[in-house]
């Protein structure tokens, strides 16, 4: 925009200068002096027209700088955008990884126990640049077995007690299994039953 404004002001200047030149030429006496005066007027007009161009040429480096600045600015913008996009992509990758991990754990637990639903919440090392990315830090499992309970309620209390024992052993089994499989310390696995 700045550049355009400069060119605009330069063109306006040239217009003014040409008007001035015509008026000066009208003022010149029509004699042998005429050509001398004309030469001087011509020189002045030349200076007036060249001066802005000269400023241009002298500040040529400045123009380049300005252009480079603009390009750099664009580059910075683009790199910022790519960075942002990369961050979003990484986040998506981590999310997807977590989701699949949770699904896997869920399937694993469901294959081991008879439950209606299992909710898995796991926290992992989610920095993609980290060497230990994907390391499972903590697993929280909620097992819903309403179905079992409703069927149990209809049964005997003694059976329930034995079932409870069975369940603790099942939970221990699950814990051990997950701990082995995902290399998670036992204390970081919490299983809740509902």
């Amino acid at each position: 925009m700045n550049f355009l404004d400069e060119v605009k002001s330069w063109i306006i200047q040239i217009a003014y200068i040409s008007i001035l030149a015509i008026i000066f030429e009208l003022l010149i006496p029509s004699s042998s002096m005429k050509k001398y005066v004309k030469v001087v007027i011509g020189l002045t007009i030349m200076i007036a027209i060249i001066n802005p161009v000269l400023g241009f040429i002298k500040s040529g480096i400045n123009i380049n700088n300005a252009l480079e600045k603009e390009y750099n600015y664009n580059n910075v913008d683009i790199s910022g955008m790519t960075k942002q996009a990369e961050m979003e992509r990484n986040k998506l990758i981590v999310d997807e990884y977590k989701k699949r991990l949770n699904d896997q754990i869920k399937e694993r637990i469901l294959s081991m126990v008879n439950a209606s639903d299992v909710e898995v919440e796991s926290s992992i090392v989610d920095d993609l640049n980290d060497k230990s990315f994907g390391l499972v830090k903590e697993i929280k499992i909620t097992i819903f077995n309403d179905k079992n309970e409703s069927s149990n309620n209809s049964g005997n209390i003694s059976i329930e007690v034995s079932k409870a024992n069975e369940k603790t052993s099942e939970i221990d089994n699950i814990k051990n299994d997950l701990s082995k499989f995902y290399n998670v310390p036992l204390k970081n696995i919490t299983i809740e039953e509902r």
Binding site: S9, Q13, L20, F24, M33, Y36, V37, V40, I57
Partner: protein, 128 residues
Amino acid sequence: MEIIQIVAIGIICVIILSLFRENFEDVAIIISLSASILIFFIIIPKISNIITVLNTIADKSGINSIYVKTILKIIGVAYIAELGVQISNDADEKNIATKIELAGKIIIIFLSLPIIIALVDTIVSILP
């Protein structure tokens, strides 16, 4: 209307000069000189207006005011030299007329020296 005054003065001068030219040549020269000075003084207020407008345009055009002043000076010098030359020619003094013309030209070139120097500097500074 100044033009009527001026033309009237001119015509009166021409009539007087045609009467006096043969017998009183020296008086004729004085009359023509005074007539031209008179006309010049009638014109002066207009010239000042023109110069004011020219200065305004020059300010807007971004020309250095020194250049405009120089050009106006040069035009003035040209007019004054022209006046001298014509009066000398009228008085049949070709020699003096040529000298006045020469002086006028030299003064014009002298006045235009700063402009020429500035232009040369500009062109040299454009070259890498």
